[in-house]
Every structure is written in structure tokens, then in C-alpha cells.
């Protein structure tokens, strides 16, 4: 993508009542939006066009969104955001596991959708340099599964972390043993969905420490560096134990 041409989106949803206002809204936000009311129409459209990203409703009569999503990812390598009325976490995982880049539950905040579109596109632009962006990270026996956003401790116990903490931890794991100052961290974490990360970095770091450090007052994993910054001290391995 570049800054001159508008980002092109293909919006696939059988419900005209949602599709039309959403297309209008996204157009107002500066996207070039094409609409398709079924998977079949979407397929014929994709024969001639290559949008930057596809917004795909899961529940559609005829071929459903998951099937089309699988096709898009396998053959066209297009970024996909799924739209769904169901909110079960298992549904979300199924959607992400077949390769969708993100998953939005109806009703969603339109601004959040826009933020996610941009975030997915930013990641897609980088993806070529990262062979397997979804491979789990390992450090000191801990394991972080980026796909399911699950953090487990050395005993396999699930440790709940927020979205912001997940992103912060991932930033550290992507840059182990490097000193990262607050601005860098804010960039890496906040850039994607600004509204989800409006607390100070220090606050997020201390929350994360409470969850992963044996003693959060004497941290051994996330160290504070004099002069304003943090450093992740442990060795990071990827992938650990492969994908599950």
C-alpha cells in the first residue's frame, strides 16, 4: 500500500442493512470499498480485482464465510477480517486458526473496525520478513501463543493477560535483551489500536511484572534500565514445541 492510492476493501455480507451503511462509513473514512452480497459474487469479483483486504461475514446462505476465507488465504494470500454475530471464544479461535488475520464481533464500533483494518494491513506489510508470525514464543519455561493470546507458566497454568499486556510482552519477546525506551514501546504497542492502550507504559509494565515475575519488586525478566527504558533479560526461543 502507499499513501496516494486509497486502500481497497472488499466487503462480503448478505445483509444489505449492514453492508450498505458500513460501505458508506468506510468510504467516508477514505477506503475504496467494493460490496459483495454472497461468496459467489465475491469470488467472481476477485477474479478481476485484488483488494488490499477482505471483510467477510461468516454466516451467509450458500457458501459460508469460513469456506471463502480458507480459499482466499490458500490461493490469494489476502488479509481477511471476519465479521460474525457469534461471540464464542471457540468461534474466534476457529476463525483465526484457518488463517483469518482478525475477528470482529457484531455489533462492533466502526472506529475499532477501522483501527483493526489498519493494524492488519500494517502487519501484512511486514509479514514477508517474518516467516511464521504465529509461532509460539518460549522464555524460562513460559510459553506465549500469539494466535490464541494464551500465556502459560512453566507448569502449564494459564495466566490471563490483557490485550495491552499481550502486545507489550510480544514487543519484548520480539526484541530480547535490547533496551527499549518508553517511546519505542509505545510505538510498538500503541500503533495498532490506539484506544486500547491509553495507559502509561510504566503502568502496563508493572502489571505484566505482577503476572510473570516471581517477585514483582525484584524483577528478573523485565529489567528497568537507568535513563528510562526496559530490557527483557531472558533468552527467547521460537518456535517451541511447534504449532498446536
Amino acid at each position: 500500500m502507499n499513501d496516494t492510492a486509497p486502500i481497497s476493501l472488499l466487503l462480503v455480507d448478505d445483509e444489505a442493512s449492514l453492508r450498505e451503511p458500513l460501505a458508506e462509513y468506510l468510504t467516508r473514512q477514505g477506503f475504496a470499498v467494493q460490496e459483495a452480497e454472497s461468496a459467489a459474487v465475491a469470488r467472481s469479483h476477485l477474479r478481476t480485482e485484488k483488494p488490499d483486504l477482505v471483510l467477510l461475514d461468516i454466516m451467509m446462505p450458500g457458501e459460508d464465510g469460513l469456506s471463502l476465507c480458507r480459499h482466499l488465504i490458500e490461493t490469494r494470500a489476502l488479509p481477511v477480517i471476519l465479521l460474525t454475530a457469534r461471540g464464542e471464544p471457540t468461534d474466534r479461535i476457529v476463525g483465526l486458526e484457518i488463517g483469518a488475520d482478525d475477528y470482529v464481533t457484531k455489533p462492533f464500533e466502526p472506529r475499532e473496525l477501522v483501527a483493526r483494518i489498519r493494524s492488519v494491513l500494517r502487519r501484512a506489510g511486514r509479514a514477508s520478513s517474518e516467516p511464521d508470525a504465529d509461532a509460539p514464543y518460549g522464555f524460562e519455561g513460559w510459553r506465549l501463543d500469539p494466535l490464541k493470546r494464551r500465556l502459560t507458566d512453566p507448569e502449564g497454568v494459564l495466566v490471563s493477560i490483557s490485550t495491552a499486556e499481550f502486545r507489550l510482552l510480544r514487543a519484548f519477546l520480539d526484541h530480547p535483551r535490547q533496551v527499549l525506551d518508553r517511546d519505542q514501546l509505545l510505538d510498538m504497542v500503541q500503533g495498532r489500536e490506539a484506544h486500547l492502550f491509553d495507559r502509561a507504559v510504566d503502568n502496563q509494565v508493572s502489571r505484566l511484572r505482577r503476572k510473570i515475575e516471581a517477585d514483582s519488586r525484584n524483577p528478573e525478566l523485565i529489567l528497568t534500565v537507568r535513563g528510562g527504558g526496559y530490557r527483557f533479560a531472558a533468552q527467547v526461543t521460537r518456535p517451541v514445541g511447534g504449532r498446536d
Binding site: 462509513y25 454475530a85 507448569e155 494459564l158 490471563s160 493477560i161 491509553d198 495507559r199 502489571r207
Partner: protein, 469 residues
């Protein structure tokens, strides 16, 4: 009472046993009484016979021993009851001795007189009494007889003493008939009979009842499982007697009906969820074009309320269903992350330092329950302080507020669906009133409970208590 069995089988078998024992005891008493009166009559008859024969044939030695035995055997066969008693030799006395322990029996005296008269032996005086064998002077005066009595241990036994004086005779003829040894054979027969009746009755009852109780047990287990899981399985095979088979068939029909209703409900709720969320999403997109920012925020909040209620309703419908295995989870981190969500939105929620507690839970569900409790505390109780403790192996997630609490008699109502505290606050605060119901359902899904209590000073305490793992 400990001895009273709880099961149908036990109760019926116990009742049958008691009934057999009572009936047999009654018949033992009756048989014993009949045997006693027959024995008394036999003793009197023996005495009468001896006295008659004495009258007819003063020299009894003329009757051959063999013949006497033959007669006796015949008699014994005829009576077929207890062994016929053998009398002692007739004693002739001027005056029959009367001892202090003797018991005269006027009824038998009259009877004896009648018997003798019928045999053509009229007597002028008659005396019938019972005496202890050991006290009898006739026996005491004969060493051999006394020895035999002593060796057989008969001193304490009773003996019938019948004395008569014939018309015009000067001497009394005294006949002595010792009481025959108690007929133990009868008792043995009754005991044997009791055992046979008992075994036949109890074993047939046992097999009959097993035919009833076995299918009942299967049915009970099935009903319990269905109640717990709400999952229908293959219909239960009908077995046992007709009544039980009909019960099983009725249960199968009911289970199928309930399962169909549950399925229908799930499908319906799924459809409602889908059909309402799509237009809500459309509405949410459309309000972005509203110019007035305050107006738009209000509309967005309204849609969010509807969405939350809808999610609560859908979750409540799904909470009982199995959602994969629970996984070991750091509850402290879980509570912290929920509290942080509220902190990030600027809500007055804080967490009290907690030890690390690990339990197998369904994370998404428990998170939802806790979120409901905290948002209730913030909404109705001004602020929430959240803590996590472990008592007697149970993990307790506690949310305290500083609000007015709930009147004690309303606490149970608050856990029912679509109930909210003060009616006047409903419209202002929104929500479908499902938060606590859902939290309780989730606590129960984890085998725990939701407990609401008013704090002594002010405020409400809501606790999710999870059982030890």
C-alpha cells in the same frame, strides 16, 4: 432408626420376614395349646383306662405283655400325636394322701367320673390332682422306681394322680400317669416349616423385586445424569414388569421432549442472537453519521446496553453446556486482569493483594462472572474492592462494595433472572438483570456457589466460592 432399611427391596424383605415370624409364632402358640389339651386328655384317658381295666380284671398281670405293647402301639398310631404316657402300677389305699403342693382339678374329676360311668364303672368318690413326681410318696417308697426317676431327672415333672373309690368298695384305687416328655418333634417341625416358608417367600420376593428395582435403579441413574448434563442419549431399553416398562417408556418420551425443547431453545437463541446483532451492527454504523457528538455517544451506549443484555441472555442459555475441559489457571492473574479492565475505563475498582491460587476453570466464563459482579458493585455500590482468598481448600473470589446492600429477604430473589434491586434505578442503569443469575450459573458450572451477604457496616459482599480441585 438404623435397622429400618431405606431401599424398597430391603423394606419389603424385612416386612415379609416379620410377617412370617409373627404368623409362625401364632401358629406355634396355637399348636402348643392344642398339644397341651390333647396331652391332658390323653393322660386322663390313660388313667381311666387303667382304672376300668382294674375294675374288670383285677389281676392285670394276666394280660400278656406282648398284647399290651401291641395295644399301645395301635393306640399310638391312632392318636398320632405325642407319645402316649405310661401309667404306674395301681396303688390301693384306704385314704389317698393329699400333699400341700397338690392341685385338685374338679373339671377333670367330673370328666373322669363320666368316662368311668360310660364304661360301666360307677364310682362314688373321685379325686384328680396334679403333683410333682419328686413329691410322690408312692414313688419315694420304691427304691428302684425312685432311682429311675432320679436318673432320668423327672423329679420336677408333673404327674396326674387319679384316685377313685367304687360304689360300695372300701379302698381307693390310685392311678398315676406321669406327664409325657414334651413333644420336641413338633417344635422342630415348626422351625423347619418356618425356614422353608421364609426361604421360599423371601427368595421369590427377592427375584420379583429385583425385576422391579433393577430397572428402577437404571432409570434413576439415567434421570440423574440427564438432570446433570441435559444431554439426551439413546432411549432406555424397557425391562421389568409392565408398570415399570410403562414408566421407562414415559421417561424416554419425556427425556426426548425435554432434549428437543433444549435444542429448540439453543437454535432459537442462536437465531435471535444473529438476527438481532446484525441490525444492531447496522445501527451502530449508522449513528457514526450523527453530527452531535453527545447524542451519538448516548446512542452508542444504548446499543452497548442492548448488546450486553443480549450477550447475557445468550450466555445464560449456553452456560450449562459443556465447553471443553477446564484448564489450570492462575486465578490471581485472572482477577487482576478483570480489575485492570475496569481501572482502564476509570472505574473505582481496586484489587487487594492476593496469594497465587491455581484452579482448573473455564477462563472466559469465570472472567464473565467476575466482570458481572464488579460492574454490579460499581453500578449499585459506588466502588468495588476485589480480593481472592483460599479457605479450607476453597478459592473465594470476593467483591465488596460500599452501597446500600440488599434487604436480607430479597437476596434470594436477586439471583433470579430479570430481577434488579430498586425498581426506580432500573431505567437509569440498564441491563437485563441477568448479571447475578449468570454469575451464579457460572459458579455452579464450576461446582461452586455464589453467595451474597450484606456487610455489617454498609455494602454488599458477593463471593464466588470454588471447590478445592
Amino acid at each position: 432408626m438404623r435397622l429400618w432399611p431405606k431401599s424398597l427391596l430391603g423394606q419389603v424383605l424385612l416386612a415379609a420376614t416379620v410377617a412370617v415370624l409373627v404368623a409362625q409364632s401364632v401358629s406355634v402358640v396355637l399348636l402348643y395349646r392344642a398339644a397341651e389339651s390333647r396331652r391332658d386328655a390323653a393322660m386322663l384317658n390313660v388313667a381311666a383306662l387303667q382304672l376300668v381295666r382294674q375294675a374288670e380284671q383285677p389281676d392285670r398281670s394276666q394280660l400278656a405283655t406282648a398284647e399290651r405293647r401291641d395295644r399301645r402301639d395301635r393306640l399310638r398310631r391312632q392318636t398320632a400325636g405325642p407319645r402316649l404316657p405310661r401309667p404306674l402300677r395301681i396303688e390301693w389305699v384306704d385314704n389317698p394322701a393329699r400333699l400341700s403342693g397338690d392341685r385338685r382339678d374338679p373339671a377333670r374329676e367330673a370328666e373322669l367320673q363320666q368316662l368311668l360311668l360310660a364304661q360301666g364303672v360307677p364310682v362314688s368318690e373321685v379325686l384328680v390332682l396334679e403333683r410333682r413326681i419328686g413329691d410322690d410318696p408312692f414313688i419315694a417308697g420304691r427304691p428302684r422306681l425312685r432311682e429311675r426317676v432320679a436318673s432320668e431327672g423327672l423329679q420336677q415333672r408333673e404327674m396326674l394322680v387319679a384316685a377313685v373309690r367304687r360304689d360300695g368298695a372300701g379302698e381307693w384305687a390310685v392311678s398315676r400317669v406321669p406327664e409325657p416328655v414334651a413333644p420336641t418333634g413338633v417344635m422342630r417341625t415348626i422351625l423347619f416349616q418356618t425356614i422353608v416358608i421364609f426361604l421360599v417367600l423371601v427368595s421369590s420376593l427377592f427375584f420379583l423385586l429385583r425385576r422391579i428395582t433393577r430397572p428402577l435403579a437404571v432409570l434413576t441413574e439415567r434421570t440423574e445424569r440427564f438432570a446433570a448434563t441435559r444431554q439426551a442419549s439413546e432411549p432406555l431399553a424397557a425391562q421389568g414388569p409392565d408398570d415399570i416398562q410403562r414408566l421407562i417408556a414415559a421417561h424416554n418420551a419425556m427425556e426426548a421432549r425435554i432434549a428437543a425443547l433444549i435444542d429448540e431453545k439453543d437454535v432459537m437463541l442462536g437465531a435471535i442472537g444473529h438476527d438481532l446483532k446484525t441490525p444492531l451492527a447496522a445501527l451502530r454504523v449508522r449513528i457514526e453519521s450523527v453530527e452531535d457528538e453527545r447524542e451519538r455517544a448516548k446512542m452508542a451506549a444504548g446499543i452497548e446496553d442492548i448488546t450486553r443484555s443480549l450477550d447475557d441472555i445468550l450466555s445464560l442459555a449456553r452456560v450449562g453446556k459443556a465447553t471443553g475441559p477446564a484448564e489450570p489457571t492462575d486465578l490471581t492473574a485472572l482477577v487482576a486482569s478483570v480489575v485492570e479492565e475496569f481501572e482502564d475505563r476509570g472505574k473505582p475498582v481496586h484489587m487487594i493483594d492476593a496469594p497465587r491460587i491455581v484452579r482448573p476453570v473455564h477462563v472466559t466464563w469465570l472472567r464473565r462472572a467476575l466482570r458481572n459482579l464488579i460492574s454490579n458493585a460499581v453500578r449499585y455500590g459506588d466502588k468495588a474492592s476485589v480480593s481472592l482468598t483460599e479457605t479450607e481448600g476453597r478459592a473465594i473470589l470476593r467483591v465488596d462494595d460500599i452501597g446500600p446492600g440488599i434487604p436480607a429477604d430479597r437476596i434470594a430473589d436477586m439471583l433470579e433472572p430479570f430481577t434488579r434491586g430498586e425498581a426506580s434505578r432500573n431505567r437509569a442503569t440498564g441491563g437485563a438483570g441477568l448479571g447475578l443469575t449468570l454469575a451464579r450459573a457460572i459458579a455452579e458450572q464450576h461446582g461452586g456457589e455464589l453467595v451474597l451477604t450484606n456487610l455489617p457496616e454498609r455494602g454488599l459482599r458477593a463471593e464466588i466460592r470454588l471447590p478445592s480441585s
